[in-house]
């Protein structure tokens, strides 16, 4: 089957790891800032996002 040219349909494992790495560095600070400004729901949202990111890591082989 001929692949479509131009638009990448998949990202490499290394790119995915990089995205997860950056997310795990950014999310705690985002949670901290949200909590300090009393946006508790936003902090909870970031925590759940972090949980989701961890699950991505868990299923990655």
């Amino acid at each position: 089957m001929k692949k479509k040219q131009g638009v990448p349909t998949r990202i490499s494992k290394r790119q995915l790891e990089m995205v997860i790495f950056i997310a795990l560095l950014v999310l705690p600070f985002a949670m901290y800032l949200a909590l300090n400004r009393s946006y508790d729901f936003l902090a909870l949202f970031f925590l759940l996002t972090m949980l989701l990111v961890m699950q991505m890591l868990l299923v990655m082989k």
């Binding site: 790891e17 705690p28 600070f29 909590l35 925590l47 890591l57 868990l58």
Partner: protein, 528 residues
Amino acid sequence: MELSPLLFITALIPILLVLVLMIGFHWGGARAGAAGWTSAILISTLFFGTDLEILVYSQVKGLLLTLYVLYIVWMGLILYMIAQESGAIAQIGRALTRMTENKTLQLLILGWVFSSFLQGIAGYGVPIAIVSPLLIALGFSPVLSVSAVAIGHAWSVNFGSIAASFNAMIGVSGIDGPTLAPWSAILLGITCFITAISVVFIYDKGKSFIRVLPAILFVGSVMVATQYFLAIQGMWNIAAFGAGSLGLIASVIISRLPFYRSRIDHDKQTTVKPTKSEKQDIPFLLAFSPYIILIIIVIIAELIPPVHEILNKVKINIVFPETQTSMGWLNKAGKGQSISVFGHSGALALYASGITYLLFRKKGLLNPKAYRTILSKTVSTGLKSSLGIITMVGMAMIMEQSGMTNTIATGLGSVTGRFFPFFSPFIGVLGSFMTGSNTNSNVVFVPLQKQIAELLNLSIPLILAAQTTGGSIGGMLAPARIIVGCSTAGLTGQEGRVLSTTIKVGLIIATIIGVLTYIFSLVVKNNL
């Protein structure tokens, strides 16, 4: 916070899960850490009354600790990649092979003495990140190389990196250094010999033990005596550095003996792996210059007060408020891990990398586009290990902030009763296992150990020495630290294989130290 057997077992689940996944199922650190992190979040919320605020602060504290660790990991990797790309690593390997052909002695000189020397001057992860690749270049298997360094330098952790762990113990316990130093130096001195013997046994199951015993006794005595002398004289900040330096000199002397110059029968025939730069004959001093530069920079930055002061002026600090779980576990208000932007060991490694790069470029050892290869290799090697460290530290911080870690330690204390001195080092091991740091282990568990020692009328300096010795030993089986070694040894994702070796050795050493602490506790009582 009340303790129950169910709570004790529940608190252990994340640790057991990580161990089972890494050792039993050979999962990498990142995946096992993610599983441990998830279980810690669930357990702390369901059973330990942790709310959103504590979870958030625990993750930010964890992130600061992670950044502190990753700073040295990434910068150490860059330095190593520069040395490797230039062919310097292979050259060092060849030179050490010429110094002695005895493979066991080579392993001891690098994995035990040189790594301890590096631990004396640099901080977290430097010995394992730098020495493991050297051993691989000498022909040792990657798993053995990482394991040998993780075990070999464990004894020097407490007084290493300008005695960070020991100073933390002084600060947290409120007991002065001269009171704490003698017992710490004694227990760590004993550990020094045991780590050397362990390195020999994991290499060839002890076949060459008798042959290298004189070398272990000679070099070990020099290092142990130096560390003890410097520590009790109040110079604990340079005790491990001094011990490692004299240990290296002693190693050169012993390797010159005809007895040690030849290969022995069962040594495997190995060669130093060739590199692209094999054809270039690099003088030994130039090949070793990345590490000489690093050592000089560290000495200047740490031991010259005005320089130290200037470099440590800019620090990243975050202050956290007091928090309490619904179970009553209190986290006091205070600063998280402070990161000195220009004075951190990672920054010092970066300066060394910059100077080394310019030097090697000038000498023609690196081509103009070498920086691309160096950065690419650094990213591909460092990325996965960084993910492992983030998840492990995140898990450790949830456990600490929710009172789970304290539950485990208190449970051990109440179950063990008068045999507590035997278990004291295991609590130190637990702290290091969780956080990958003896300093953090001391910060978390020294108050608890001191409290139990007072209750049981035990010698506090002895129990705290057992704690910090356990913390030093614990580094060899801390996943976060093993991940660092595996990343530079090309074993990323196979941390479980190394861990299965180091965990056995670590527990054996902790048991020996536990038995000795118990015996000493029978004759030494609390005199504070």
